[in-house]
Structures are given as C-alpha cells and as structure tokens.
C-alpha cells in the first residue's frame, strides 16, 4: 500500500468547474489530484482505497468567512477547534476574519495565524487582515505588508468602514497590488439595534437594524469603486435591496462579488420572537421576501458563493439579555445540509451548482487557482458527501468549542462522509 496515493472509488464525481457529474474514481498522488474517471484501480494498484459507493465526490469546500477567535478569545474557538469543525463540515479551506483581540492588522499577526494553522495542519486557514488599524475605521492598516505575509484579503468585519473617505483610500490602495476588500455593509449611523427593524422588533420592543443600514453602505461602496475598480466583495448579504444593488452593479460590469449565509437563506426575524439569542446575528435575520430574494440571487448568480460566517460564542455570552448578547452563530458543521435544504431541495439549483457556490466560485474570488475543482494537478482537497443521509442537528456533538446554533434539533439531509486534504483523510464520519 502506498501511503502517498489515495484512490477514492465508486463515487459520483461532481466537478463544478467542468460541469461534470459522472460515476467514477479519483486518484490523489503526493497531495495532488492525479486522475479522475472510470476504472482507475488498474492504474494505481498500490493506492490506499476508499470505497465511497453511493456518495458524491466533490472539491473540498471553501468558506471565505469564519471567525476562529484566536488570538484573544480562545475560550470561544481556537484555530485547532475551528479547523476540526471545518473539516467535519467538509471544508478544506477557510478564511478567518480579523476581529480577534487584538485585531489582525499587521504582517506579524497574519504570520501568527498562518503559523498556528500550520501547527494544527488539518485545514487550510487563510487570514483576512483588517482594513483599518485596530478595525477602528480611521487609518489604513498595513495592507501591503499583510498581503505579502499571506493575508487573503481585507475586512473590518463585525463593523463596516464608516468613513467614505477611508473606504475610498482602501479601495485605491489595494488596487495597487490587486488586493481584495471584503465589506461588512452596515452604515454605523443607521445601526445600533439588535434585530431586523420590523413589525416583530416593534412588537418585542427591541431596537432595529434597518435594511437601509446594509444598503446605504453597499450603494456608497459601489459608487466609490466605480472609478477605482478594485476587487470588492459583499459579505453576508441579507436584504432584497442589497441583492438588487449587486444585480445592477454586475449588469453594469462593476467588479463585485457576494456571499450569503445558511441562516439568511432559511430563517426570518420571526424566530427572534421568544428573545432567544441564538437567533441574534449581524446582519440580522430579515423578512420572508429578503430570504426569497437571497435564494433567487444565489440561483441567478447575483450572489456568487456561500459562506457560513461561523461565529462562536460561549453559553455565558449567549445567556445574556437579547440586547446585550453578542451577535453570531456557528455554522461550519451544519452548512452543507442547510444549503441543500434552502437551495437544492427547493429546486432553485442542483447539486453541481451547489458545489460551484461552495468551491469553484470562492476559489475564483480568492484567487486560489490550485483548488475548487477536480482537475488533474490541483490540490488533493476532496469531500465525500452522503446526500441521502438524514440526521438531527445536535450541538453536543460539535467539534467546535461553541454550541450557538439556531438550528438545534432540526432534521436535515446530506452529511459529510470523509474530508480529504492534500490526499490525507482529515475527517471520517462516525457510522
């Protein structure tokens, strides 16, 4: 048996990059995809076999929006626990946000995250750097130094860049080295609430975050970027209005990409009705028309990719009063079946298209040309999916250090069987 060769046998290959869906085998040699197609056994008689009959074989998932809390809040999540959660959810590449304590706003901080991730060595962890120093929105952080140290892009996520002047400079500056700006769109003067501004918020007596908070900053950025044309990505789209702005911008040929989360594809703000803080996140859950608009936008390509915004918090954090509890929910370990429920089961897209939005498209946005497809020569990052397996979401079984999911107890369909990174099996489902 050759340990440097892995042969995944009898699966259904889903290669979104080629639009390919066929029964076959996949051979990984020395960490790279060596061949895919029917009857590879003869070609690699010594390879370690992995029989996955009845399963899909797809490129490893890529989540360009997670929070691993290291450094500074290791009681919520570490790069180790986050990586374990990632591979359990089928993700082989994740991009962690810069809102740690302190913020990732220098090249040494970027190197720290990369070093920790290499030590853990389960999942490719790529840090975003902050756009502004300490994410305070005032001065540009050392963007180019961070870029050269390995920052995948830049974001002050958790907050938007409030100043139009600072945002314009950031777009102009990253254009110099073709960097990526990923914006949390939330106009600060319109914000300050703790759930969607809606009849439900009025009923509950909770301060609202209006859809306009997201749309105003997005519209502003699109105007600013019209003349700059930097790479600009919209995080966690939540409103029908934001979808429409992105749709129009794409029609006009502007460089904009966008992501949406599982919870914004499935839940509405009605879920906040019992003051359960597991439904408190930012952007907040919106109305049914917003959910529909987000689903449609994924189907028609307005929203390019899916991202969990995995945001771990302790039970103590979430046990606080609704207006005081922190925003955020975990998502890595439940992403696949929830996306499938929102998008595939409802007939909006098929499995191949779902894989495109979880692999090929984020790889393209992030300029990671060595992954996101099953092409020969790419990294041997592969996920094996059992599309029919039904299971009940039980936070007690999470690998993540945190349990704050809004989907506790939900019956879902579709599970990760194996996650393979660089030809090495990094996750095997309990049977």
């Amino acid at each position: 048996m050759n340990p440097t060769q892995l042969l995944i046998l009898n699966g259904t290959l889903l290669d979104p990059a080629k639009g390919r869906l066929e029964l076959g085998d996949l051979l990984i040699v020395d960490g790279r995809i060596a061949a895919s197609g029917a009857g590879l056994r003869a070609q690699a008689p010594d390879a370690t076999p992995l029989d996955v009959a009845g399963c899909y074989v797809a490129p490893g998932f890529i989540d360009m929006h997670v929070h691993f809390r290291e450094p500074g809040q290791e009681h919520k999540e570490t790069i180790a626990s986050g990586s374990a959660a990632a591979v359990a959810g089928g993700f082989t590449t994740v991009c962690c946000m810069a809102n740690t304590t302190p913020a990732i706003d220098s090249d040494t901080q970027v190197e720290f995250v990369l070093t920790q991730a290499a030590r853990v060595d389960r999942c490719d962890v790529r840090p975003f750097g902050a756009i502004t120093k300490a994410r305070a929105g005032n001065e540009l952080a050392e963007l180019r130094l961070m870029h050269e140290a390995g920052a995948i892009g830049f974001s002050d996520d958790g907050v938007g860049v409030g100043s139009a002047a600072v945002m314009l400079k950031a777009l102009q500056y990253v254009k110099m080295f073709d960097g990526l700006i990923s914006q949390h769109c939330e106009e600060p003067t319109l914000s300050g609430g703790c759930m969607n501004a809606s009849a439900t918020a009025l009923r509950l007596g909770l301060a609202g975050i209006p859809a306009a908070a997201e749309e105003v900053m997005l519209a502003r950025d699109l105007v600013l970027n019209r003349r700059v044309e930097a790479r600009y990505h919209v995080q966690h789209v939540s409103t029908a209005g934001a979808v429409e702005l992105i749709r129009q911008a794409k029609k006009a040929g502007l460089p904009v990409t966008a992501e949406v989360t599982p919870h914004h594809l499935l839940l509405t703000d009605a879920a906040c009705g019992s003051y359960d803080t597991h439904f408190k996140m930012n952007p907040p859950l919106r109305g049914a028309t917003d959910v529909q608009a987000c689903q449609t936008a994924v189907a028609d390509g307005t929203i390019d990719c899916l991202a969990t915004d995995h945001a771990p918090h302790t039970p103590e954090d979430k046990a606080q009063e609704f207006d005081k509890a922190p925003f955020g929910v975990v998502g890595l370990e439940t992403a696949l079946p929830l996306y499938a429920e929102a998008l595939v089961r409802g007939g909006r897209i098929n499995w191949l298209q779902l894989m495109e939005k979880m692999t090929t498209n984020p790889a393209r946005i992030l300029r990671l040309s060595d992954r996101g497809a099953l092409t020969d020569g790419l990294r041997g990052d592969v996920v094996v999916i059992d599309p029919d397996k039904t299971w009940r979401i039980d936070p007690a079984k999470f690998r993540s250090q945190s349990r704050n999911t809004p989907f506790t107890g939900r019956r879902v369909q579709g599970a990760i069987r194996y996650t393979v990174r660089g030809g090495r099996v990094v996750y095997t489902a309990e049977t």
Binding site: A199, L202, L204, G205, L206, Y275, A319, E321, F322
Partner: protein, 327 residues
C-alpha cells in the same frame, strides 16, 4: 385582621407568571380586573390588610430606577401580608458581574415565591422565567411591556365607562407620544385590542412608525384629527433622551403638535378620560390644567395600580394555595 371580601365568579387563571398582556386572553385580563375590583375595597378599610399571602415572599428586583412602580408593588404585597424583599442592584453582586440568571436563581434559593422584575432589556423577565420555578412578574422590560400598568389603565377605563353603560368594545382609545420606545403603549395596545376596544396610536412619524398598523392599531400623526373621535386619551411621557437621537427637533415643537392642553381638550368629547402613566412633564406633553382637571384619571390610575398589583400577586402566587372563593 379583617375578613375577606368574596372573590369574583369569573376565575380563569392558571399562570404563575405575568410577563406581558400580549399572551393573555380576554377572560384572563377580566379575571385580573375583577379580582382587583374586589381587592380595592381592602384599601378603604381602617386596617388595610388581608392575610391572603401570609408566609409568601415577594422580591422587588429592580434594575432600573423606579419609585412609583416599586412602591406600589411593595405596598400591594404588604397589604396581602406577604414579606417583601427589596433587591437593590447598585449594592448587589450584579454590579460585580453576576448574570441575570444567577441573580434570579440565588433569590429563588432563598425561598422567594415571586420575583417582580424591572429591567432595561426587553425580554429580561422571559429569560428569568425560563430558569426559575417561582413566579415572575414583569414590572417593565425595556421597550417591550409593562403589563401591570396596562392592567391598571384598563381598570381605570372600565371604572370610568362601565357606570355609563359602555363596554370596551364601545370605546376608542388614543395613545399619544413616543410609541416606538414605550412599554406602556404596547401593554395598552394588547390589552385594549384583546378586550375589543379600538386603539389609535398617535405621535411623530419618527416615534410612531406606520408598521404598528400591522399589529392591530390605527396609526395617526395628527393629534387634532384624532381627539374628537376618542373616548380615552392616554398621554405618554416625553423622554428627553430621545432628543439626542433627533427623533424630534425640540420640546417646544413636540408639545405644539402632540401636547395636550386645554384648547386641545376642547376638541375632545365632553366625557373624555385623560390618562398618563407618570411621571408627568407638566407643560410638555400635558398641561397642569388638563392633568389636574375634571377629565383627568391620573391619580385614580395610581390608586387602582395598587389593587391591580394586589390582584396580580394574588393570582400568580396565592390563588393556588387558598380557596379561590375567598381572599
């Protein structure tokens, strides 16, 4: 101690908590009002005390400043012979970082029967009710509900209009002011609509959003239009901190359009009832001539509040262990 007045016939109450009026049925609301009606008589006696809650412990857990509601609950509990514990937040472990749930569990471990809670966060009483087994009574949570204020307003309205042969379904009530942030407005809205009254919410667009129309109320931004059509005007307190958020330009401009003075009172029906939850900003949302005039029910509200809170305490912690026929 005196003997007990007879309890009302209608007795539909199985709750140990009072978290809000939104969840209550019309029958439950009427059960409180009827119980309060019977208990009001206790306060007219020379010895203002009945033994209904003897041996029970009620804790006032107030995270926000309050004089009248706190005093009213305290006196209500005492008139029912309960022991009262006043929990002062500034001197407690809350200021040392204790969570709300821990505070409540510790109080429960002391053996209290009811926690009367006021908190600046909407939903805080609901969070407490999820972790304790004792009764939880909401004395005002953020901008959500203030159910005993709603009940005492309902009581005062019924007290005024029942002798004139009018039922709630015959009445039209205007609630005027900062509706968006008012827990009093919400409790009134739920209680009044549940009993069949018509409610119009009145205030500037920034403080009285049209979305309230989806919650069963009419919404108006013109007080002068509304006044001739209503039986009750409930004037909410102007909250000065809203000035900083630029919800309205000045006190002067606010009171010009949304203040109730004698000239405006003349637009009302002659038998209109004027309410205010207090504390009043005299000269701003209501002039002294109106507040102290013959149409005002404001001091009756305070008086009725005591009976309503006695009733709520009795129903939540006493009714199960005493014969329901007697207080």
């Amino acid at each position: 101690m005196n003997t007990l007045p007879p309890a009302p016939e209608r007795f539909i109450w199985n709750r140990s908590h009072l978290l809000g009026l939104e969840d209550l049925s019309a029958a439950e609301i009427l059960a409180v009002l009827d119980t309060a009606g019977a208990l009001r008589e206790v306060s007219t006696r020379s010895i203002k005390k009945v033994p209904a809650l003897r041996g029970k412990v009620v804790v006032n857990l107030f995270f926000e400043d309050s004089t009248r509601t706190r005093s009213s609950f305290r006196l209500a509990a005492q008139r029912m012979s309960a022991d009262v514990l006043d929990f002062s937040v500034s001197t407690s472990s809350v200021s040392k970082g204790e969570t709300l749930a821990d505070t409540a569990l510790n109080l429960e471990a002391l053996g209290v029967d009811a926690i009367v809670i006021r908190h600046r966060s909407s939903g805080a009483p609901h969070a407490v009710a999820r972790v304790v087994r004792c009764s939880v009574i909401n004395a005002g949570d953020g901008g959500h509900e203030h159910p005993t204020q709603g009940l005492l307003d309902l009581f005062t309205i019924r007290q005024t209009f029942a002798p004139r042969g009018k039922k709630f379904s015959d009445l039209h009530v205007a609630i005027v002011g900062d509706i968006a942030h008012s827990r009093v407005a919400r409790s009134n809205l739920w209680g009044l609509t549940r009993l069949g009254a018509k409610v119009t919410l009145v205030g500037p667009t920034t403080l009285c959003p049209d979305q309230f129309a989806g919650l069963g109320a009419e919404v108006s931004h013109c007080l002068d239009d509304v006044l001739p059509r209503v039986d009750v005007v409930n004037m909410l307190r102007v909250q000065f901190e809203r000035l900083a958020s630029a919800a309205f330009p000045s006190i002067r401009e606010y009171s010009r359009y949304f203040g109730l003075d004698e000239a405006r009172l003349k637009r009302c029906r002659p038998d209109v009832l004027v309410l205010h939850p207090g504390p009043m900003n005299r000269g701003l949302e209501i002039t002294s001539a109106v507040a102290d005039g013959p149409r005002s029910g404001i001091l009756r509200q305070v008086n009725n509040g005591l009976a309503v809170r006695m009733a709520v305490l009795y129903l939540c912690i006493g009714a199960n262990s005493f014969a329901a026929k007697e207080f």
